[in-house]
């Protein structure tokens, strides 16, 4: 009889086994979500410069916050997470994994790691591309860490939600596109419950300052970049752990439905 694989061996096996999936259609959609807006921005800025115009470096900051952070990053999580362990639940291939002696709790993270690495790669490429537009080079590491850290947390959150709820993508979309913008009118401390806040703290810039026209907006709070990064990493780790715990504890039969929340 073979010894049961360690959690590390399980992570390595699932990550390596499912890695080819990121090179298929969904993986390229993920890359496109980053590359298309950055490439379009570069094209527009190049055309403006060719016509003799002056492209402000603040435009790069706007593209970073308004497009990459607020739109593309959540969409990436909504696209990638269903291809993680949720996919095996829906395709009813999860029993093939669960009848192995490997620890079931390691499977969500193991299957999510290739998607995390692939998404992080393109986010780094995207941020470097935006740097061509201009901007303070000293803020570049902060932006890179902010996006990759948020990607870690958002992918983990969506993986967990996908295991907890049948319509996980819907709940995730509500969180990203309703809660994150709406929180600005709630008491300031609640801002710390958004990815946007931690990304802004790490990146050292905001999409926009609160103006007098925004009557309901609350004062923007600040968090030390180190704490913001720690919060993103810990939140992501907690979500992966909860997803693992959910899978470990939930009986999932051949029909797959027992795993639904």
């Amino acid at each position: 009889m073979n010894a049961a694989p360690t959690p590390l061996a399980t992570l390595r096996a699932t990550a390596r086994g499912y890695a080819p999936r990121v090179l298929q259609g969904r993986g390229w959609v993920l890359a496109g979500l980053v590359l298309v807006p950055v490439a379009l921005s570069l094209l527009i800025f190049t055309l403006i410069r060719l016509k003799g115009g002056e492209a402000s470096s603040t435009e790069a900051v706007k593209v970073f916050h308004e497009v990459l952070v607020k739109m593309m990053l959540p969409i990436m999580a909504l696209v990638a997470a269903p291809a993680g362990i949720r996919e095996d639940l829906e395709q009813r291939t999860l029993p093939l994994l669960l009848v192995r002696p490997a620890p079931a709790w390691a499977l969500p993270l193991g299957k999510g790691l290739p998607w995390f690495a692939w998404g992080a790669l393109w986010l780094v490429v995207g941020v470097l591309g935006l740097q061509v537009l201009g901007g303070d080079p000293s803020l570049l590491p902060g932006r890179l860490v902010a996006l990759v850290g948020a990607w870690w947390g958002e992918l983990a959150l969506m993986t967990l939600v996908g295991l907890l709820f049948k319509r996980g993508t819907l709940w995730g979309a509500l969180y990203f596109f309703i809660w994150e913008p709406l929180v600005r009118i709630f008491p300031p401390a609640l801002q710390r419950l958004t990815f946007t806040h931690h990304i802004e703290s790490l990146a050292g810039s905001r999409a926009a300052e609160v103006g007098t026209s925004q009557l309901l907006a609350q004062e923007q709070v600040s968090t030390h970049p180190g704490l913001a990064l720690l919060a993103l990493l810990l939140f992501g780790a907690a979500c992966w752990a909860l997803a693992g715990w959910k899978l470990q504890r939930t009986p999932v039969g051949l029909a797959g439905s027992e795993g639904e929340g």
Partner: protein
């Protein structure tokens, strides 16, 4: 090896398997799990393979509860029903991953993958993705993943579904070979002929209940109260005259060149019939049992419990 003590399974308010008790001994051999669709076969197999914990009672495999138990899962292999495999992956790489998840590594892993692929006859086509494989090829790969780690208990849920006749025969030969080498195999099917070709030992399930357990002959003995139809071909009038004198006769029907009799306790009347025919006492040219096969057994038993 397998022990169920009043084990039951519920899906919410629906009873998938009534409290069931049976044991299968250690050692190789094939046991057929028979029953129509919805009989509870998959529920039972999910309990045995540790996918679901019992709602009541106890399931023991190798002396331990199988649900999320690595010590048990390392010793069993499961081929679930259906044609489900992960999309977009190559078979050989996927098998390697499944081997690693079973605790194999290094050269032992390479050897196990190669042996499993060779065993199912897929060594030269394992580089294909699942999408490019035929149903039969995918079924072989599903069997290969269950064989990778050399399980002592192999559980197959409706493995013959969708296979062409040649692939069925190949799979049956493979299962017989594994059983001879010491693997205990539990195979479910709703087609009785398949199981009859594979094994004599069966568990009969119906509506979530274990109706009978034993060899086909043993189960047939339970049915003596049911008339069995025999066609006696020869001089019909003379055969009918002999038949009406037999105490086991329940009914008689004349055909052009034969007589069809319904008899109770066929084990009693058949030797007498053969002896009389051999001595020239009756003009019998052929004897055809019309419903002594497993289908009849199955229909009788299920009719009783319907």
């Amino acid at each position: 090896m397998i022990s169920l003590d009043r084990a039951s399974l519920r899906y919410g308010p629906i009873l998938g398997l009534s409290p069931t008790t049976f044991e299968l001994p250690d050692g190789g051999g094939i046991t057929g799990l028979l029953g129509p669709n919805g009989a509870g076969k998959s529920s039972l197999l999910q309990l045995l393979s540790g996918l679901l914990p019992p709602s009541g009672g106890e399931v023991r495999i190798f002396g331990e509860a199988p649900f999320r138990n690595p010590a048990v899962l390392a010793r069993l292999g499961l081929v679930p029903e259906g044609d489900r495999l992960p999309t977009g992956l190559r078979a050989d790489r996927w098998l390697r991953m499944m081997g690693e998840l079973s605790g194999l590594s290094g050269e032992a892993l390479q050897a196990a993958v190669a042996l499993a692929l060779q065993t199912v006859g897929m060594a030269d086509r394992a580089h294909l993705t699942f999408a490019r494989m035929s149903k039969g090829m995918r079924q072989r790969i599903r069997l290969a993943q269950a064989l990778l780690h050399g399980p002592e208990l192999l559980i197959l849920d409706e493995p013959f579904n969708g296979l062409d006749p040649e692939a069925r025969l190949t799979l049956m030969a493979l299962l017989r070979d594994l059983a001879e080498k010491g693997t205990r195999i539990l195979v479910s099917s709703h087609i009785l002929g398949e199981i009859a070709q594979l094994t004599d030992r069966i568990l009969l399930l119906f509506r979530g209940r274990l109706l009978a357990e034993g060899t086909v002959t043993e189960i047939r003995q339970l049915l003596d109260r049911h008339p069995v139809e025999l066609r006696l071909t020869g001089e019909a009038q003379a055969l009918a005259r002999w038949a009406v004198e037999q105490p086991e006769l329940a009914a008689l029907r004349m055909e052009e060149d034969a007589v069809v009799i319904s008899v109770r306790s066929p084990r009693d009347i058949l030797p007498r019939l053969q002896k009389t025919a051999a001595e020239g006492g009756i003009p019998l040219r052929a004897l055809d049992p019309l419903d002594l096969n497993l289908d009849a057994v199955f229909q009788y038993l299920t009719k009783d419990h319907a």
